[in-house]
Symmetry: D3
Subunit: 138 residues, 6 copies
């Protein structure tokens, strides 16, 4: 089996606080990350796809195609944004976990539509110390 | 499926030599690593857990909980130590493999007791050139 | 000559926009970084001090002292914050350059007060692709 | 389950162009990578093996054995070479995908012959932004 | 003093061999790097400029300006090329040292023409193990 | 001016404790690093030399020469050792600072004897968070 990974990234801000909880409850769960004016990260996004190698190009997907998919599905909506402003996070806190789920959903359908490969997994690297993978990770 | 990884680390010394072998045999197997006064590494420890995302916190495990588990189960006994002094290595040489097995064992039960997630795997990064994973790695 | 560097870091959000300029002017200068709801980064902070090696400790400054200085002078006010909220940026845009100048100013006096070393330089790493140094850099 | 990874690497040049296609077609597929005089990379090679821990050595494979296998099967033929000159790429373009397939094939048989472990996967890191894994990656 | 560094990079091939020396002499000096069909690297290019902070933008140079300078002066001529083909290396071997000198020369005049800053230094990172700086490095 | 840096490294153990102080005093200064059985690190060693570019080789120093100097002056005595066993640390605690001073001293004379370059500085990277430079660092 073969899997190809490309690493992208974007800077963004977020507030870790649930709209359904009081400031005190949010502070208790999220600590300083609940600061209502936000803080931010350089998010790394590792996109892994799998599929047959095209005999002409020797590639699983054309690099330019994957770049365009990422640009439209992730960079455009997420880069240089306060993530809480996105509809993806209307009812979910923009933690690394929920960001990974949202980006995996957006990329999976785009990869299916535009390539002969399929999305295997998405890794979100929030800081050098914590990351989150959604997909086939076992 | 979703998996969350946090990276920790500790500095420690070890001697790669079996108490059941002669100095010459140890030297033959372990080369300069058998030096009886020890040498050491900055060990990286990547802890990966999996489980459902808690809808309130948007997290698989509270970060503070995982930090406390690591602190008690790994940092406390392993950091700034000669690993051969630990009971974990009374009958096993403290190679990256055996360190990974020992830490996986200590963390797996602690994660089970204290969270609703389960430990998926532990990676020990001994040097930038070699590492070892124990758990579901396939 | 001897210089010791410790690497710290904090996540924060910022808006690159001058209060004296119109939204259009800010957009022209700062592009997507002018988004008024902010975006963010994992800021790396490398603190370099110089001074004689203390013969007892073999160190230029006690590590714990430098950690405490950083904690009070930088982590406390900057971490998990929207940088535009800080007084340091009341009249200056929180670019990497101005963040470096502000942190250098805060650290230089604290290092002078609390140690026998002096601050040589401060490097702010905003992304893996851009950084800024203030101090003696030549 | 336990898996051990060692990271190696080599510098090499390649031309991304199929001998069966015209210059225009190659340019359309591969862009600047089709430049007929070549360009190059520092290729990272991560070799992951799995197997039982030897009770004497505490290791899955002796490090020196894996180093020798890599030296003979990969470094010798690939390092400081124009990859298109190798027989492995007589009919296949030396993309990261095809390099990974070729190296996986060479290493798998060598690991089987010389150790009690088996090759689990090979990762080729072509640039900090793209990599490719062949083996059991799911 | 303030200095701003941006990290760029390009993949390229080179042959380390002097046209004035015999194959045997080149092999004696450069070893496997003298392979006449070339090998290659991912070259990192760190560009450091210094100058006053513009009070409106809070920047030493507009990022877009530095990107354009790099694109025209370095990426365009060097990226995806066999460096020996460039006029810069008509009489000089394209070692990291000579690449750094060539790129420093090209960038210094472009920075002077297009910005109010000046080029302080250029670092070429040829592999994770060796790099070269030209400029004011003391 | 031109400076060339090569990165080397070695694993070693050390005990941060002065023979002239009591265990309590050492514990007060060095905390867990005073553990008398030692702990360890992967020490990175960045060696920077400066000098004219040799017109034939295009290099400041032949890479093989610098490698041999490092091997004899540093790897041989320091690698896989308990640093407190070395004469360099008979009366000095093996902190990053004192290790840097010792290695700088050993390399400076060897570089002077064996090359036309001179040693500009030595950086010791003890952990990803702390390092120390000796030489011309301003």
């Amino acid at each position: 089996m073969i899997a190809v990974t490309k690493r992208y990234g974007f800077p963004a801000a977020h507030v870790l606080a649930s709209r359904e909880l009081s400031p005190e409850e949010n502070e208790a769960i999220f600590g300083p990350c609940a600061n209502p004016n936000g803080h931010g990260h350089n998010y790394g996004v590792e996109v892994t796809v799998t599929g047959p190698i095209d005999p002409d190009s020797g590639q699983v997907v054309p690099e330019a195609t994957l770049d365009e998919i990422y640009q439209a599905a992730v960079a455009e909506p997420f880069s240089h944004r306060l993530l809480n402003d996105l509809e993806d996070f209307a009812t979910r806190v923009p933690t690394a976990e929920n960001i990974a789920v949202a980006i995996h959903g957006r990329l999976a359908s785009a990869v299916r539509r535009s390539t002969r490969a399929r999305l295997l997994r998405v890794r979100i690297v929030e800081t050098p110390r914590n990351s989150c993978v959604v997909g086939e990770v076992k």
